[in-house]
């Protein structure tokens, strides 16, 4: 089990850095159209912020925030959001053809990209955090 770090410098830094990292993760998600990054990278950064929380404030702090079955359901919701964004275009086009989204012109594709990237972020964040939770749950058995 990862204990809370005893140094106040570390815990204070983690308290400050976690929200900043999460803000940056969201920025990477919504700014993926314009700059390097996108849903996947944003998901890993968000997951990293939770892992940092566990490393600094202890595993218990992380498990207080992470209900594993619910988070795996969120991962499934991310995949389903992706599929739903694909299906939304179906009546007026093909699967994953965002031209069918109820927005005019090129903004429809822009919106479609944002929707599926959000799904990817949701799936990646929750999956990585849950794997870390399980992996770090207990130290070696012997």
């Amino acid at each position: 089990m990862i204990e809370r770090h005893e140094s106040i410098v570390v815990t204070t830094f983690v308290r400050l850095a976690v929200p900043l990292a999460q803000l940056f993760g969201l920025y990477v998600l919504v700014h993926g159209h314009e700059s390097p990054g996108g849903g996947f990278q944003a998901g890993v950064i968000l997951a990293g912020s939770y892992i940092m929380l566990a490393l600094g404030l202890g595993h218990e702090t992380l498990t207080r925030h992470v209900d594993e079955p619910r988070w795996m359901a969120l991962a499934a919701a991310g995949v389903l959001l992706y599929v739903a964004a694909g299906l939304a275009g179906l009546p007026r086009g093909a699967f994953l053809d965002y031209a069918g989204l109820p927005v005019n012109g090129v903004r429809a594709r822009w919106l479609g990209i944002l929707l599926i990237e959000t799904g990817v972020t949701l799936a990646v964040t929750t999956t990585l955090v849950v794997i870390f939770c399980r992996l770090a749950a207990r130290e070696r058995a012997s």
Partner: protein
């Protein structure tokens, strides 16, 4: 200068890779592997592949290192000794595959070749039309999330499946 930087990064890449393979303490091996991911990210950045560099930095240098450290917490830092016969078998396999890879590399188009198959197939069409068609200046995002969104959908399903698999396996180990 750029060539020199790239050469230095590639040399560093080999050095940290050797350090990761040679280390007896697996903690050092994992940290060397993290450094490998970071140098790899710098290499991608040096040749202008910003999106790949970003992914390598967060996944190769970040997430996998943390996961392996967590795995070490649950197992042991000591490397189990390899059987001598196995080492020779590995050397033979690596030599054969390595020679073949080097031979294949000679047949690859040079880096940045505008006449390379990858650069003349659909890439020019994407680059020319991406802004008009998707309103997305970052062509990499447009290709991943729009032109090739089926690939990304399946990748997301793979990540989810891997997550469910790890979750179930590691949950069972506790009981």
């Amino acid at each position: 200068m750029s060539d020199l930087l790239l050469a230095a990064l590639l040399v560093l890449l080999v050095v940290v890779a050797l350090a990761a393979v040679r280390a007896d303490d697996l903690l050092i091996a994992v940290l060397a592997l993290g450094a490998y991911g970071f140098v790899m990210a710098l290499t991608w950045a040096a040749i202008g592949a910003a999106d790949v560099s970003f992914t390598e930095a967060v996944v190769g240098a970040g997430a996998t290192t943390v996961f392996m450290l967590a795995a070490l917490l649950r197992t042991t830092r000591r490397r189990s000794p390899a059987a001598p016969g196995l080492r020779w078998a590995v050397l033979v396999v690596v030599a054969v595959v390595g020679v073949q890879l080097l031979g294949l590399m000679a047949a690859m188009p040079p880096w940045g070749d505008p006449a390379a198959p990858a650069a003349v197939h659909v890439s020019p069409r994407y680059l020319a039309d991406v802004l008009r068609e998707t309103g997305t200046p970052n062509a990499v995002t447009a290709v991943l999330a729009d032109y090739r969104s089926y690939d990304t959908l399946i990748e997301t399903v793979v990540i989810f499946t891997a997550g469910v698999g790890c979750w179930l396996l590691l949950a069972r180990a506790h009981r």
